[in-house]
Amino acid sequence: MQKSFFRKTIEIIIFTVFIFFLFAPLLSLGIWSVALRWYWPHTLPQKIGFDYWLQALGITKSLTLGAVNVVPAFLLSLGIAIIVVIITMAIAIPAGYALAKLKIPALLKGIILILFLLPRAFPQQPVFLNLMLMFNKIGLTGTVLGVIFVHIVVGLVFAVWITASTFSSIPPELEEAARSVGATRLKAFFKVTLPISTPGLIASAVFVFLTSMDEFTGTFFVGLPFVTTLPMTLYSASGSNIQFASVIAILLLIPSILFMIVIQKFLKAEHLGGMGG
């Protein structure tokens, strides 16, 4: 009896420490985003309000040092992410289907798989650096198009994996049944395979969307200083104004958390590690 009480106490103490370290950094971000005046070492800000939120969202004008209106950056990030999702999925769905369902000689398939594993295993920053040098020659550095290309590379690897694993989980008998009653391969795909795999494909698209919204390293090399996506404005606000930086950070983490809670059950655990490098 006493032993179990002792164990419960230990469990609660560890639980409290766990909760503190998990949530205190988040809480710190939240408090800073509404702190108008916070002198060290007061426990809480002396003055709180949503002034920085209103300024960051462009609702009120601001003369504060380091003040940025994040709405254009948000719209730019959103636009890039939508284009990236459309192109990436249009490339990834056929590739994933072919890898999962169609006959490809073992050697060639092996090479393709290695090609899609390398970006996950090796650091990507030197690759972006050389991509920038490549883009310099053809005038893509500092353009939205260049940034879109970079985001496609980042998202495509995961998109191919996720779509391939979605398609391979569908029993081949279903498509065969459709074809045995006269459907063409194309018709069988659109009438049978595609509807069943919709949840997995949506999960994959959301994943690509989030990697694009959060992408930092590639945009840093290829996009700056002309293409300022939301993570880039966070980076530049970070050094100058902690309240603005906190507001942007919260704006960035909301979609991540919302979407991932919805789609995580459709994704394999290994893929989740690809979030936001």
Partner: protein
């Protein structure tokens, strides 16, 4: 009449024969058509620049083949290379040990406490490093929330707060982000182990440490190794967090050095040599990862 029918059948057969052959050849090239765009994107925008980083690391400023970049890299960044390796190994180690403990706890313990831990721990997985960087900047700052909290508890002197914008803060942020991901993967492995193994071990007198070291860990070795590999490799290549937390101060990770080399000196040779060092750091684990994924089948 009979002949005619035969002829017609023969013609029909022939037509069917042709009809079969066409889709056949079409099916033969269909997979290649479908994978072609994806493979081209990766070849052009990933593999080519990836290989270029090796090649360019051997080209000196004068444009000749030499080891000058490596010589310079080792002279200036020797310490940063060791720093990167040290912080990554330390973070991966702490994250692994912590995540195994939490995963064991979640596997063996029932009740509302473990249930809520089992849901809440996932939060950091979904956050990008750039957000974590800003979060840790405000949390770990000399006048940040952590120092404030420790000062209120009288654990530190308020005039002398902890300086955490260095390897300590870096390790803290890395573990904060990656341990939950490892818990997720390792928990998945632990769920596969049937309760009967654990009960059998208990019935012959095995204590908790033995259950962990003799059953749970050995039976999940491949899963744990994959988790360690993915975390180690992504931490070596992590740029945004060290860049925003430590920035221009020294020592710093080589990803930050690469950015400085490019932005301030336009020195692509040394930047690429540093990149090759980061490849070498992950090479063993990366090869293990590629091999084990190939064996397992990428998506089965």
């Amino acid at each position: 009449m009979g002949n005619n029918l035969k002829n017609e059948l023969a013609v029909g057969k022939n037509e069917i024969g042709v009809g079969v052959e066409r889709p056949h050849s079409y099916t033969n090239i269909l997979p290649y058509i479908l994978v072609f765009p994806a493979v081209m994107v990766i070849l052009l925008l990933y593999l080519y620049p990836f290989l270029a980083s090796f090649w360019k690391s051997f080209i000196s400023k004068e444009g000749v083949l030499s080891l000058a970049n490596y010589e310079k890299t080792l002279r200036i960044y020797r310490y940063d290379i060791l720093f990167t390796l040290g912080v990554t190994v330390l973070s991966t180690f702490i994250a692994t040990v912590a995540s195994i403990f939490v995963a064991v706890y979640l596997r063996l313990s029932k009740g509302w406490l473990s249930n809520s831990v089992g849901i809440l721990y996932r939060l950091p997985i979904f956050l990008p490093f750039v957000v974590i960087a800003q979060m840790m900047r405000s949390f770990l700052a000399p006048h940040g929330v952590l120092n404030l909290f420790l000062a209120k508890l009288n654990l530190i002197d308020i005039e002398n707060p902890l300086q955490l914008f260095n390897w300590v803060g870096l390790t803290f942020g890395f573990v904060w982000k990656e341990a939950p991901f490892m818990i997720l993967i390792i928990c998945g492995g632990f769920q596969m182990i049937d309760d009967s193994y654990i009960e059998a071990a208990r019935s012959v007198g095995a204590k908790l440490p033995q259950i962990i070291t003799k059953i749970l860990i050995p039976m999940n070795k491949p899963t744990i190794l994959i988790a360690v590999t993915l975390v180690f490799c992504s931490l070596v290549g992590c740029f945004s967090f060290p860049y925003m937390l430590i920035g221009g101060k020294s020592p710093v990770t080589i990803t930050v050095d690469i950015a400085h080399r490019v932005n301030y000196f336009g020195d692509y040779g040394v930047a690429n040599a540093l990149g090759v060092f980061s490849y070498i750091m992950v090479s063993l684990l990366a090869l293990y990862y590629v091999r084990s994924m190939m064996k397992k089948g990428l998506y089965d």
